[in-house]
Assembly symmetry: C2
Homo-oligomer: 363 residues x 2
């Protein structure tokens, strides 16, 4: 028993398909109430479900929003995805998901797939990469996006404009002030920390990471401090952990435990900035596994303010980002002319226990 079609409904109702179509979708022309009723009843009794593909073909629009993320299980992306989903619902559209692990080639493929499905708009949430190995991929991605836009598609990008895209029409970006916020974080930390600063960064060339690093260094400079060491590693928990292991070695044996050959005087406490929360958590875990304690033996701060991590102890100092709102803003307005351009969001430096200056004293 195949799904019933509009024609069947029309036949059952004793009207033409045209009329049936008119009553079942709010067309401009509304047939008489009696007929409408008949059609609706027929549709109901047949369990009629319009074929969205056919509708899309005829109207050339699909009610689809494409969403591209690196990894949907990453809390950063899933928070954004929630926002996108919310916005989609308001436009009553559905969201098509693609995960790409950040590979420009995969992203290009995803854009093409979305274009093939005639998605009304595309949201790209992942951080862009500027590595030379990705250069070609980025160019192709940009070309694909441009073509999509030229064909009337709308695209919203989180964070950074896609490298090399010629923002025609219908191309807008949600600007996240990563650099400014990181600078602010650095300044606030600098005010209360005497020790050295270290940055745990993502792979070089990952724009979001680079921005945050740059901002943090600038903030340090603003405070009259010299630049922090930068450790490049994976942009995830594992990366943070590995960097944490290295830093633990650098910090040395914690005071109080009877290590051999420890210096007599405690060195000034290290202050670690991990470019995202998940990395910060990983680093903290590594430190802990080496017998070090946060914030006693090292202060640590992250970025993003991931909700799931909010109950983590010591409470993680971080920069709050309105992730869900970012997701909402990233989806292009359904109706109306394409508002090309950029909207901004603001974050907030949120200092918590993990960078408490009193850390040295506390248990």
């Amino acid at each position: 028993m195949a799904a019933s079609t509009l024609t069947e409904v029309a036949r059952l109702a004793g009207v033409s398909p045209a009329t049936a179509s008119r009553v079942l979708n709010g067309s401009a022309r509304t047939p008489g109430p009696d007929i409408a009723e008949r059609v609706r009843k027929a549709a109901d009794s047949l369990g009629y479900i319009p074929n969205a593909q056919a509708q899309g073909l005829a109207k050339s629009s699909s009610g689809l929003i494409g969403l591209i993320v690196h990894d949907i299980a990453d809390p950063y992306f899933s928070a954004i995805a929630r926002g996108v989903q919310t916005a989609a619902r308001h436009q009553n559209k559905m969201v098509l998901l693609a995960t790409t692990a950040g590979s420009p080639a995969d992203e290009r493929a995803a854009v093409a797939a979305f274009a093939a499905r005639r998605a009304d708009s595309i949201v790209i949430a992942g951080s862009r990469s500027a590595r030379t190995t990705d250069q070609q991929g980025n160019a192709e991605l940009a070309a694909e996006l441009d073509r999509y836009c030229r064909n009337g598609g709308q695209v919203g990008v989180v964070g950074h404009a896609v490298v090399g895209a010629e923002a025609d029409e219908g191309y807008h970006v949600v600007e996240v002030p990563n650099e400014e916020l990181a600078a602010e974080l650095a300044r606030e930390l600098a005010a209360s920390h005497a020790g050295q600063f270290v940055i745990i960064a993502g792979p070089e060339g990952l724009l979001t990471s680079d921005d945050r690093v740059r901002g943090f260094q600038r903030g340090l400079a603003d405070a009259g401090l010299s630049p922090a060491d930068v450790l490049h590693t994976g942009f995830d928990r594992t990366g943070g952990y590995e960097a944490g292991v290295e830093l633990a070695a650098r910090i040395g044996t914690p005071n109080g435990s009877g290590g051999a050959g420890t210096e007599a005087a405690a060195p000034p406490r290290l202050c670690i900035f991990a470019v995202n929360d998940v990395m910060a958590i990983g680093a903290t875990a590594a430190l802990r596994s080496k017998g070090l304690r946060v914030p006693r033996d090292a202060a640590i701060a992250g970025f993003d303010d991931i909700e799931t991590l909010r109950d983590f102890r010591p409470a993680l100092s971080t920069v709050h980002l309105p992730l869900e709102e970012i997701g909402r803003l990233a989806v292009p307005a359904g109706s109306g002319h394409a508002a090309a351009g950029a909207v901004g969001v603001t974050g907030e430096v949120t200092l918590r226990r993990s960078t408490e200056p009193g850390g040295e004293a506390a248990s």
Copy 2:
């Protein structure tokens, strides 16, 4: 400049649309190599992207997999979503996302929308509800699903068969042994805990929650203990927090802090089972906010083993569930006959610090 069509490609290549179609999609009949080359070149130069809607319409299949979750930002669901996404990729299909907050009405609507898009299969990940207020909604959902299956759709359900669905063809469920695992958890905990047991459960009628509660009680009974108190609350962090506040009051002032009117002898330590990790975290936060410490003043265990929470301290005792695998298994096999039936996964009780018996003694 509208997207170019197959016909344009064909014209440019000097062949018929039929031939062009045959070369651009692996049809059974492959045209001659010279012609194929010509067509491919034409397609390339035009930047041809096939219109998936039209293809779908013609082939009546869409390459879409519908995924229904309560909330994509919930780490439980996003982990499953990752698995689904992986499986989809292997079938090279795309996933369509719908979030419903667990409302059967919304789920029904989502299924209808998926059906309208002619999704090849649907995965329902959220826990089913058996509340009487949802009864009608559930029935409608079941009916919608049945219809979808009858029309050749495949559906995969995580956890529980949809109440009232008549498993025709193409309906399969990934069985999660919630009850057994909860029982096992209870038995293991019972072996080392002298104090009372309390369960923080989700809303009554939420099947996953009910199963876990039932299993835990059974495990307690197996160990010769009387049933635990059950607190029903929200199935999320907030619910856990609220329950935690109440339990904190029940536990009373922690030993050592100078509360007035504390009993002289420490009462046996409470052992709390929250039916999922996120709730357990919420409860822990509540306890902590009341000055209580885990596991010293209360032991606590969760369920799911959410990855993002793995660095939480005290490390949360829980039941590990292979969430990603569950997601993968939930998506119906793309090709081949619909393997109706059920596949099972196994979890593993994972005891960690939060229920350590030595908790009373440790700092």
